[in-house]
Structures are given as C-alpha cells and as structure tokens.
Symmetry: C2
C-alpha cells in the first residue's frame, strides 16, 4: 500500500504510475453505435474528404507517414472538435494506464519512483510489495530492466518498462548509494493496490481522513477507517480532499451516503436537453452526529467537489480551505468501440449540487477561507549561480520566502537582496553550521530547500488542517462546558 | 499601397488583414487522390471507427454538437498527426484570407486598422484607396459597418465585416477625435494591393530595399525599385529581409536570379526518398557589380532564408543582423480537394542552400552579428500603479530600459528602483515639462513610451541598417582612396 503525497514542493515529480485524472466517471448505459442511434454518422461525401486527406498526405508529404497515426489523428480530431478538456480518445496503452488509475490498482513491482538528476530513483518501496520483499530500498537508482538501460527515458516510459503482467519476472539492476557495484534483483510482479485513504485520530478525539482519489476500492477503505475512528470515540471529523482530482461517481455517492440523511439529494445529473436525475441518499449509517469539516483547495476537483457540495448542502458540514477547482461535468468511459483496447472518455452530463448549483469553472467557495503559508508554493532556487547582496531576481525571491517561512524574517520578499536578507542568510548559515558568508551558494540553497521541505511535510505546519482540528475541538468542548 | 511596419513596439497590433504566413510556397504538380495514387487511403475498419466516434458523440455528448465541426476536426486531426507546424487544413474562410495574403492583394476599402482601447481605429488609409478617397483619416474610430456595431469584436472579425467583393458598397460610421457626432461614409470596395517592397537611396549612394513578404507581385516591384536605384548610380545595396516571414518560392527564385550568376544554384529541393532538384540561375542582369548586404533577424523565415542563403553562397553577399528563423521546408497549397473553397497546405519537400545545408530549426547565421538596442523589445509599462523609489518589479525594469535608451542612463536595468533611477526619472520629467516627482505615474509612463516609440521608428536609431550602410560606404570608398 502506498500513500499518495499531498503538498509536493520543489518540483518533485513523484509518481506511482497512474495519477490524477480530473473526472467523475459514471457507468451509465450509453447509446452505442447501433441501429437505435439517432445520429447518422458520416455521409459518403464526408468519408471521401477524409480519404482524400489521407491519400494526399501519404502520396506527397516530405517524410514517411505512419498510416496508423493518421487514423488516430482523425479520431483525436473528432473528439478535439468538442473543445471539451474532459472528453478524450485513448489508444490501447494510454487506456490501460487510465483504467489502472481509476481502479486504484495495477500490476508491477510496487516501487514509488521519481526522476532525480535524470535518474529513476526509488522514493520508497510500497509496503508488502514484491519490491519491498526483494529488498529494494529508498534512494536506490534503477539502472536497467531486463538488460535494457533506463538512461535518458522520461519517467512514464521508464515505469512502463518496469511494469508488466502479474506473475511475470523482471530483472532490475540497481545502484545503491554507498555500494560501489550495481546490485541485481529478480522480482516477480504482482497486484499493487494504491492507498487512497489515510486516517488517524488526534489526541483531542478529532478524526482525520485524507482521501487522495475516488478509486474503485476507496469507498470500502473509507468506511473501514471511518468505523475504526468511530469505535475509538471520535467527537469530530476532518475529511481532507485537498489535491484530490476526483474519480468514480458511484464511489463518491456511496461515501457521501454515510453522512447525508435518507431521501436527501447527494448530487444531480443533467443531460443534454435539461433532463435531471437526482441521486438521493438511501439512508446514512447511525451515530453520525459528530461535526464534520471538509478541507478543499484548488486541487480538489470533480468527485471531490461532489463530496464537498453534498456534505455542505445536505449534511451541514463546514468547508474550510481554498476555492475548489471547478469541474462540473460527468464522463463515461466507453471501451473497445473504436478498436480493441481503446477507450473513449466522453462528457455525458453536467452535475449539479443538491441546491442545483453548477459549479463548473467556478469551483466551490469554502465557508471559511484559510490559506497555507507562502513557502508551500515556493519555486526552487537555481543552484548554478551564487546569490548575493544587491542582486535582484526570482531566485532571491524564493530564498526570501523560504527564509521567512523558517523563521528568518527577511521583510523583503520581492527578490531584491538587501542588507536584512544578508543578515538572515548569515543567521540561517550559522544555525545550519554552514560557512557564514551571507551569500547563497549551492550548499546554502540546498539546505534552505531541505529545511523548507521538512517543514512542509511536518503536519504541525499544516495551517488548514490545524485550523479545522482546532475549531472542531472548540465545538465539541463548548456544549460540555455549558452543561 | 501600404507599408508594412517592421519594428512594432509596445504591443501595437497593426494589421492589414493577411499578415505573415511563414512559408515557401511552390506550385508543383502534386499527386491528386486519383487512381495513379500509391496510397490506398482508409480501409473499411478505419472508416467504421471514425463513424463510430461521430455517432457516439452525437448520441451521448452533454451538449448539442455541430456535425460540420466534427468532420473538420477529423481532417484537422489527420493533418495534425504529422506534427508539422507548416502543414494545415483551412476551411473556406481561412483559405481565402490565406490566398489574399499570398497574392499580396485583397478587395476592401483600404484602411490599415488596429485595436486601440478595444476600438477599431484607423492607423492610416492606404494611398489611393477608396478609404482615402472617401476621406477616412488616421485615428478615426470605426463604430459600425452597414448598421452592425463593431463593439467587442476582435480585429480579425471586425476586418472581415469591412471587407467584401469588389464594387460592393459599404456604409461605415466613424467617430473622429474632436468631432462630437459620428460621421457616415459610403465607400465602394475595390482591389487593394499590399506594398511589399519599399526602397530609398541614401545620400552616400547606398540603396536600401526593404522586402516585407514574397507575394505574387513582389518580384515585379523589386525589379522596378532595383532598376530605379541603379539608374540613380547606386554604389552598394542593402536588402532588408528582417521580419519577412516568407512567401512564394518562384518569386524568391526570380528575385535571387538578379544577383546569382548564370548556372549557379539558388536553392535545392529534396523530396521524400532524397531526390534533389536544383534551381539554377538563368543568368543575372548586367551591371550588378556593386556590393550587397542582406539584413536578417529572427523574424526572417523561409523564402527570406532562401534569398539570404542564395545571395551569400552564390552571389557573395554579406549577411548582417541576427540569426534567422530556421524554416527549411517547402509547402504546396492544394485547393478544393477536401471540399469547395478549402485548402490543404502540405509540406512536400525540404529545401537546401546552394551548398546543400538544411537550415531547418537552426536558421542562418549572419556573417556579422549586430543586434538592435534593448529598448526595441521592451515591454509596455502597466499604468495602473505609480512606480516609485525602492519598488522592484517588471514595470520598473521596462522604465529603466526606456530611460537608458533615451539617454537617461539609469545604470540598473533589473527592475529595482534605486536613487539613480529616481534621478533619471526627474531629468526626463524636466525635459518633457512634466511635474518633476521622481515617480512614474501614468502620465510619465505614457511619455516614456511615446518617446521610445518615436526613437524606434526613427531610422537614425536602426543600428543594424546603419551598420550595413556604413560598411558599404567604406567598401565603395576604399578603392577610390587607393587609386
């Protein structure tokens, strides 16, 4: 099981292969291209035009032409003409990645990897995975797979070489820091499940459940963790949907049902022509009388927004954080109709909140706006150039934001390296036992970034989460002190 | 006749409708989609796929779908699959604009317009055009055309409403600065020819010919101007191809022939498979023994690069300025084969210089690199905010570049508003008879921009042109002083 990270600073591209498609997928019956269809499709003149385009190109273009690419191009062009960023055609390989991301599982060795100095580096082996059992460790650099070098590949391509069918064996050559010779591992691929739900209980009896994606298994996992927290006597709940890009519609409906009273609306779908269908709760579980706060931000999209809307409007939950992404449409995924293994993801409806609001391109406003500190979004420092007094650029700005975030308040945060900035750099260098130069060379820059990253990943600095917990604590205490 | 501007600063979008397509068009016979074709086009399975995509979308998409758009999308997708920025499908309207731009003429009223404060404003009426004869003046704002308001339209759309078939009448309502009531004009549309060649003679007997595009009539105009200069006793020639995006292959070959000796190569075409065809000069005109310098920059593309390459490698001309754009392919334009009025622009060959260099994505290096001053490319100043001492942003940076360009040397040009910058602002304000505040408010910003624009359009500040003229002058003087 692996935990998907939320706040990722300093352009660390950590991926578990798959990753966030912004969508609310549904499984409705769609009109297939059968006789019952209302559309008549392409007529002969139109087909002749397409044919002429292909022939003209294949006979006259100045380079060799891949026929298959032209056909794929035509389908992409048809879907692209909708100008809908959520409708897409996927050829076989892309489609299988998409399905895995939606299902929340894939088959592989189970190592979270990132590209670091252009090398495929293990972030961590997934607990219980074949990679962990074989002895793969964090910071291992993967050199080759089945004898084929991974050098120069982008992450997606490298990962596609590591993955493969369940039960198949793969030989991985690994360079381990501190070990001079590469190490050889033979690993048998297996099903790897992505962890999309992480929960813990605060001392104050406030439970926190983070949901990173609404995959096929997320509803089940959510109920498990919720029940566990309830058994521990939870008095208030934070549901953290920050940076959750969405997922399956039936899963979010199932999850919202835990909180929305019987008969109340969770979400409504509106198809072309305006026909609406409301999804109503079939009755929430008993004992859900604790207060709930939902955390959202600009990365909370689609199914996350359905959840937030339902819990706010039909279950009295409070929304805290920042305005959400704003994606108010529902897609369905149509497999194999455009060729075996292909997938057509098509927007088939709008979704509206219980109060019939269409939040598309607007997002949902939190009841209480709380932002994270500036240093959560700071850009990395270019380490090629030493930054010093009287300079003026974006790198100095990043350094000022980091320093101030770490308690070395520079006052200026606009990129001008003034005397105060120099003083704070010196203080930081002294505390970190670096050469006290007052200049930011590669070493100081790296130390600044490391300290900032450490602070961001430390939950005590998560302003939004802390605020939510604090308020729920006050709310649960208040009646007690009155009675 | 209208002169196309070269250096356009401060995001002035002046257009005469048409404008630069980066291409070297040829008129070769291409393989039409006939029986002689080698390609077999789309097979039944492929056609069925495309049909299925159209039907699935038309039956299930959440909004109404424009059938025509899906078909256009398919063709765009086929052409787009080539990933060639120079191959493109154009539907009827786009195709006619493209043809006009290539032909170098169109039918309309003949007013150069720009969008200024979101209003369609006349830059200048074209000499001898219906607009000029009717009394349209520079700075007139066009309010409506045939009773339809132009408010809120983008420039391209507004222009398409003003243009129309030759001989047709159009009623234009105009707001003239200083005149309270709108003025009504009735104008009869006519053929308007774009001027693509501008020439003048320097006192030093160095001739300068600027070529802004290689349109159908450009070759003829070039020869006219060249002959005129020669008759005036020209001793050296500057051909200015800066920001010239290209045009017709036969036109540039025809023009290069003026300078390339008989039998020498002007340009070579290489089609798929590597077959080469060389275009050789059929003999240059007599009396072309004066030295020639060609001015190029990053906006000199395609046919401009053919011209520069031919004159350098086969006629001993000198290239001066900056590295050229780097577009080494030849397109042909195939009309009506994908529907009446449509156009398929397709890359059918590479072109190589006489010495068989493929300059694609590299460009041509000048023999002598000369850049324009920084203020030629400076960004405009946001006038919402007053800039003052100790501020630090992009607007201050623009102001510093402008001040220094105007002779008020600020030393810093990095956006930090220091004491020296303040001093120079005060000097500028004093000279311009503005309130001497040392701060840059809207009035000072506008004055800075106006003064900078004036300097840019003043040829005495054209470093590249002046350098070319100066060197030719030296070259023509040198033998005289030796004899």
């Amino acid at each position: 099981m692996i935990k998907k990270r939320t706040a990722i600073l300093l352009v660390i591209v950590a991926m578990i292969i798959g990753g966030g498609a912004v969508l609310a997928l549904t499984n409705y019956p769609i009109f297939a291209s059968s006789g019952a269809s209302a559309s008549t499709g392409l007529n002969t003149t139109e087909i002749n035009k397409l044919n002429a385009a292909v022939k003209l190109i294949e006979d006259n273009y100045y380079k060799d032409v891949d026929h298959e690419k032209l056909v794929t191009g035509a389908i992409n062009g048809i879907v692209g003409a909708l100008e809908d960023p959520y409708s897409a055609y996927m050829a076989a390989e892309q489609a299988s990645e998409f399905n895995e991301s939606i299902e929340g599982s894939f088959t592989g060795i189970g190592a979270e990897v990132e590209l670091k100095n252009e090398k495929v580096t293990v972030v961590s082996p997934i607990k219980g995975s074949p990679a962990e059992k074989a002895g793969i460790q964090a910071k291992d650099v993967l050199l080759s797979v089945d004898g084929k070098s991974l050098a120069g590949l982008d992450l997606q391509t490298a990962v596609s070489k590591i993955r493969g069918p369940k039960g198949s064996k793969v030989t991985v050559m690994v360079q381990r820091p501190g070990t001079p010779d590469p190490i050889k591992f033979e690993i048998k691929r297996d099903d790897i499940e992505l962890e999309t739900v992480n929960a813990h209980m605060e001392k104050s009896k406030i439970g926190v459940i983070e949901v990173t994606q609404f995959s096929a298994n997320t509803g089940e996992r959510f109920k498990q963790e919720l029940t566990k927290l309830e058994k521990q006597g939870m008095e208030g709940l934070v549901i953290d949907l920050r940076n959750n890009p969405g997922g399956l519609l039936n899963v979010v409906v199932d999850m919202a049902e835990q909180f929305v009273p019987k008969g109340s609306i969770i979400v409504q779908e509106e198809t072309r022509g305006g026909a609406r269908q409301a999804f109503r709760s079939e009755g929430r579980a008993k004992g859900k009388d604790y207060p709930v706060t939902v955390l959202i931000n600009g990365g909370s999209a689609s199914a996350s927004e359905i959840m937030a809307g339902a819990l706010k409007e039909s279950a009295g939950a409070k929304l805290l954080g920042e305005n959400s992404f704003g994606k108010g449409t529902v897609q369905t995924s149509i497999p194999d109709s455009l060729g075996k293994g292909t997938l057509l993801k098509l927007t088939i409806a709008k979704w509206l909140t219980p109060d019939a609001e269409w939040i598309h391109e607007k997002g949902i406003k939190p009841d209480e706006k709380v932002s994270q500190p500036d240093y959560f979004k700071v850009a990395p420092i270019d380490k090629e150039k030493t930054l010093k007094y009287n300079m003026n650029n974006e790198n100095v700005k990043s350094a000022q934001i980091m320093l101030s975030g770490l308690g070395y308040e520079t006052k200026r945060k606009d990129g001008y390296f003034d005397a105060e900035t120099k003083k704070q750099v010196q203080a930081f260098q002294k505390a970190q036992k670096l050469t006290v130069s007052g200049m930011i060379e590669a070493k100081t820059a790296a130390a600044l970034e490391a300290a900032t990253l450490k602070q961001i990943t430390d939950p005590t600095h998560d302003t939004q989460l802390n605020k939510a917990i604090e308020e729920l604590k006050q709310e649960t205490l208040a009646p007690a002190s009155n009675s």
